[in-house]
């Protein structure tokens, strides 16, 4: 009996869906139960990833209609290369994180019940799988909200802490508003656009009213004739809705709040793959459902991507909380993915499918990469959190000596995310740069000129990200322990190390063997743009990546890696043959002798130059408090320094909305002032108004 990829995907979803109630019922308090649950989750995820990978590799499309759902609109499922690719991304990271969770959750289970964590974890992964597999608007939205709700409960896991509650609430509200926008978008695509709007009141006369539901399958939307105006409305709504989930600036406010406070394995999934479902949605709506669109859609996506990337990187640089830093960096990386997507859309709208494919590959590759390294980094941050109980970097330091495995693995993540060869982050950034540089192929003069400017912003982003992760690794792992408690830190358990090693290995593999990966994922742009780049990209064998033509640009991650490794090894050996005496001595520090750990650069001081230079982007509040000495007023005995960096979008955009809501609430409350005679007047006036209305 052989299974099609869709069957396998469905099985994996079923495993996850069943695991959730099973975990809830079984209590899953014992370590053994935790292990079994997460093993099952790992197996289910791997199955999903495998199914997705198969679908991508074969470029096949499988679809099915389920028995559940509305009678007139049963759930439709479909596994095509696009969904297959995202299945792979989600499944792969879920697999790794599930392994990680065995150790991580067992540690949590020692001091609090974890039933909720396991149940919603499984539901969360199931939700993501279903979002990707859904092939009609209803199923998509159901899955979308299951995913959102499950992750909401996961953010709320440590619900006794106020910041968790605040973050979870904010997250859920933004997610829901986004979901509403997505619903509207589908409604536009299915309802308004396809069937001419029946006049008010005449709809009742339409005996076949339920047939309109067929418009809500994605298949119908694909074949629908949408007027450009409505298509734009649908796109803007979808972009808003998915953007809210992806954390595009200015819809990002929830992200740096929610991702850090969730348990780290969940943060890894949320940042690593949940954001990708939003990217999936954008790709699905634009390239698959609408298909024909003007260039400015792409320009909008590109600009939002650039803004998110730069601001995300800047804010990541400013954070003192390790997980918050990672969360902001997710905003940045989503921005980079959107840059690729936007470029692809621009190229596609100018009928350059090959270039669109290249940009799309860049975006998709970055999706995959970001899943791996952000997953790795959050797992590393989780290990640190687990070992030290701290998220504040300024209270850490010197962990490299305590966490012999976590440190190098975390470093791999940092190097990857900073876009340094030969790791994977560089490949996708390089591809994005290449996509930028192909802009002269665009007929429109002004866009042709403006696009390369974006490349500079991308470069800025990459450099800022590098700085942010030097800070992240340097302050956390290097130097001296800043607080005495850190001394007791220990390395994480075996499964956690294994999972991180797996992710790190994948980071390297994806960086060293890009042509193989691109060859595999080529069916996705083939499906979306009708063109592929594998012919040219892998033209010179697996070692060389030549996206357009070899004389245009080429890169070999493998060769770079090997040469660096070789030279390092040779030099090391050469120098080792000679002498090689190393003496350990006290720190020199230009002869300064009273060095204390508190003199180290902290995360705030490390970020100071960049904070000063880009001060226009932040709302910075610095406060220096001097406690003067009694004897000499000029020489303070103590100095207190406090800094708060706030997000201006909150002040400018969200605060007014909240205020307006409460203003309206007060207004609504005025209807109810308690006196029965006023209520009778309402009734009286209502009758009279209605009677007049009737006349």
């Amino acid at each position: 009996m052989s299974f099609s990829p869709l069957d396998l995907a469905a099985i994996s979803v079923a495993v996850m869906l069943l695991l959730a109630p099973a975990a809830a019922v079984s209590g899953s308090r014992t370590p053994l139960m935790v292990t079994i649950c997460f093993m099952l989750a790992a197996i289910g995820s791997l199955l999903g990833a495998y199914a997705g990978a198969m679908a991508v590799a074969s470029g096949s499309v499988g679809s099915a209609v389920l028995a559940v759902g509305l009678p007139d609109l049963p759930f439709h499922m479909r596994l095509d290369p696009l969904s297959g690719f995202f299945m792979t991304v989600v499944g792969l990271l879920s697999f790794i994180v599930s392994i990680y969770s065995i150790g991580y959750v067992k540690a949590i289970a020692k001091h609090r019940p974890v039933t909720r964590l396991i149940a919603f974890y499984a539901l969360f992964i199931a939700g993501m799988f279903m979002v990707i597999l859904a092939d009609d608007a209803l199923f998509f939205l159901v899955s979308w909200e299951i995913m959102a709700a499950a992750s909401y409960f996961l953010v709320l896991f440590e619900d006794e802490r106020i910041e968790n509650r605040r973050a979870a609430f904010l997250y859920m509200v933004v997610a829901h508003v986004g979901a509403i926008a997505i619903l509207l978008s589908f409604g536009v695509l299915a309802g308004i656009a396809t069937v001419p709007a029946a006049g008010l009141g005449l709809a009742g006369a339409d005996p076949a009213g339920f047939t309109a539901f067929r418009g809500y399958t994605f298949d119908a939307m694909r074949h629908a004739n949408v007027t450009p105006g409505w298509a734009t409305a649908a796109f803007l709504l979808a972009f808003f809705g998915f953007g809210a989930k992806a954390g595009i600036i200015p819809l990002h406010v929830w992200l740096p709040e929610a991702h850090p406070v969730a348990p780290s394995n969940v943060s890894a999934l949320m940042s690593g793959v949940m954001l990708k479902t939003a990217i999936y949605g954008i790709l699905r709506v634009t390239f698959d459902l609408v298909r024909v669109f003007p260039w400015w859609w792409g320009a909008l996506v590109l600009v939002m991507g650039l803004v998110s990337a730069v601001i995300g990187a800047l804010f990541a640089m400013m954070q003192g909380d390790l997980k918050r830093l990672l969360a902001w960096s997710s905003v940045e990386n989503v921005g980079i993915i959107l840059i690729g997507t936007g470029l692809a859309m621009i190229y596609a709208s100018f009928n350059s499918p090959v270039l669109a494919s290249l940009a799309l590959i860049a975006a998709l590759y970055h999706c995959l990469n970001h899943a791996m390294f952000k997953g790795l980094l959050f797992m590393g941050a989780g290990s640190v959190l687990h070992a030290t109980g701290e998220r504040d970097m300024d209270r850490m330091g010197g962990l490299i000596h305590k966490m012999r495995w976590t440190a190098p693995l975390f470093l791999v993540g940092c190097v990857s995310i900073s876009g340094l060869p030969p790791f994977n982050g560089f490949v996708s950034e390089w591809l994005t740069f290449q996509a930028f540089l192909l802009s002269p192929a665009i007929p429109n003069q002004i866009i042709r000129l403006l696009i390369p400017m974006g490349a500079a912003l991308l470069a800025l982003t990459a450099a800022l990200a590098g700085a942010a992760f030097v800070k992240a690794f340097g302050v956390t792992f290097l130097g001296h322990a800043r607080t005495p408690g850190i001394g007791a830190a220990h390395d994480s358990s075996r499964t956690m190390k294994l999972a991180m090693a797996l992710a790190a290995a994948l980071c390297l593999a994806l960086g060293v063997l890009p042509s193989v990966v691109i060859d595999w994922m080529d069916s996705v742009p083939q499906q979306l743009t009708g063109s592929s780049i594998s012919g040219s990209a892998g033209a010179f064998g697996w070692m060389w990546l030549t996206p357009v033509a070899s004389e245009r640009a080429s890169y070999s991650g493998a060769a770079t890696f090997l040469v660096i490794l070789l030279v390092t090894a040779v030099v090391w050996l050469l120098l080792r043959v000679r002498a090689g005496s190393i003496r350990r001595a006290a720190i020199w520090d230009c002869g300064f002798e009273k060095l204390t750990p508190r003199m180290q650069y902290t995360s705030a001081s490390f970020a100071m130059p960049i904070r000063r230079i880009f001060s226009f982007a932040f709302g910075v509040r610095e406060r220096v408090k001097l406690v003067p000495q009694a004897a000499h007023r000029a020489f303070p005995s103590r100095i207190q320094y406090a800094i708060r960096i706030s997000d201006r979008f909150w002040m400018w955009l969200y605060r007014p909305i909240v205020d307006a809501s409460f203003w309206a609430a007060r207004l609504a409350g005025m209807l109810q002032q308690g006196r029965i005679r006023s209520y009778l007047i309402y009734s009286f006036v209502t009758i009279i108004v209605l009677l007049l209305f009737l006349k």
């Binding site: 939205l141 899955s143 509650r165 069937v195 029965i676 009737l694």
Partner: protein
Amino acid sequence: MIGMNTSMMLLILLGVPAFAAVVLGFVGDRKFAPEINIAGSAATFVAGIGLALEVLERGSMLAGGKFFFVDAFNVYLSVLTAFVSMTTAIFSRRYMRREREHGRVGHVGMRFYHAMFQLFIFAMLLCLLTNNVGVLWIAMELATLSTVLLVSLYRTPTAIEAAWKYFILCGVGIAQALFGTVLLSFAAEKVIGEGGEALLWTNLSAVSGSLEPTVLSLAFVFLMVGYGTKVGLVPLHNWLPDAHSEGPTPISAVLSGLLLNIALYALVRCKVLVDGSTQSHHAGNIMMGFGILSIVVAAFSLLRQKDIKRMFSYSSIEHMGIATFAFGLGGPVATFGGLLHMLVHSLAKSAIFFTVGHASQMHKTQEMSRIRGLFKGNPLVGWGLMFGVMAIVGMPPFGIFTSEFLILTATMKDAPYLTPFLLLGLGVAFAALLRRVQPMVSGEIPPYQKPLKVANVPVLLHLALVLMLGVYMPDFLNNWFHAAVELLK
């Protein structure tokens, strides 16, 4: 049930609660009174199922000399009413016993409570099943009157105030409905002829095309304001938050879960007649207007609530607004959505009130700022409340999402310019409810929280049903709804 005819079934369905009311009036505050209450409601529910099976088999029918009329629309509401009454009776056993122990209710109160509970069920079922528009009105008034004193059961000043407002405002409102009914019969008499048959709904709907449109639209204004007051539509809603929040929680559950539905049912029945007569969408437009206004005002009102039951009463206003809007919009999809919405809202809202009742008993307060740590304190109450709220705000996979999805899609198709208002209401209500509920369920157990034995069957049963309706709709229900849609066209 085999061999029993429909009239018998109806007799049982209506007779059991009426009889139980009398019995409970005599039993009073004995130990087994709650059990009798449950048994009576369960028997009613069984009879309701039997009736439903009949209808399923034979389609809509008249019974009892045209006095009763059963079709797809009212039979599903009857079963729902009987079902929620039963679960509420189960819930109220533990709940009221606790209230009795706390001394909030005396033995007269308990006697009264049980008898009136059954009388209330009787009135609602009569409302649904009668074929006579006049009797419909009487039963509606009876339903109000039987609950008025239950609202003031605790005798606190606020409870009395709430009951007084409920009594006066609904009394005035429903008097308007009577005026509308008089006008209806005036119009009907000219077509059907004089005599008692002029108020039979089956007759009216048969000749609705030839009824005088001016009279009917005049009648509809009064019917709208009258029954609309009972539905709790803004700006006629002011009694609702008071009455629903001050009475005992089981009563809040049935008031929010059932009585509003019944009033809406009456309104929709009248709307069908008016539409048939005027051949325009006036009635629908008026209903849509009230619906939108209710949704938006209620949603914003939710933001500033402090009392937990009061908040959920506003949520009921919002949801009744949604259903009214759906029926006003008309068209198969919206009507289907409206029917489904009545069903799932009723189930979800009563489940919420069950948990709310337990939660406020645990904390001895209805103030939300004092209710904390329900997840830890009592997982069933905490998670029941959380999932109930998730359902009520329209999160999939719960059924309310499905019905709202249907209504929204229909709105987008037929009245796209109203969609933003609808969504504004839904979005604000979502944020407002979550904002309040989240701190109540999460966090540490406060010192003043007392553990409590809870009735878990009703909550779980309701939520399971709501969940099921979100992902899977049984064929028979689908057929019913389709038939009802056909009826309400």
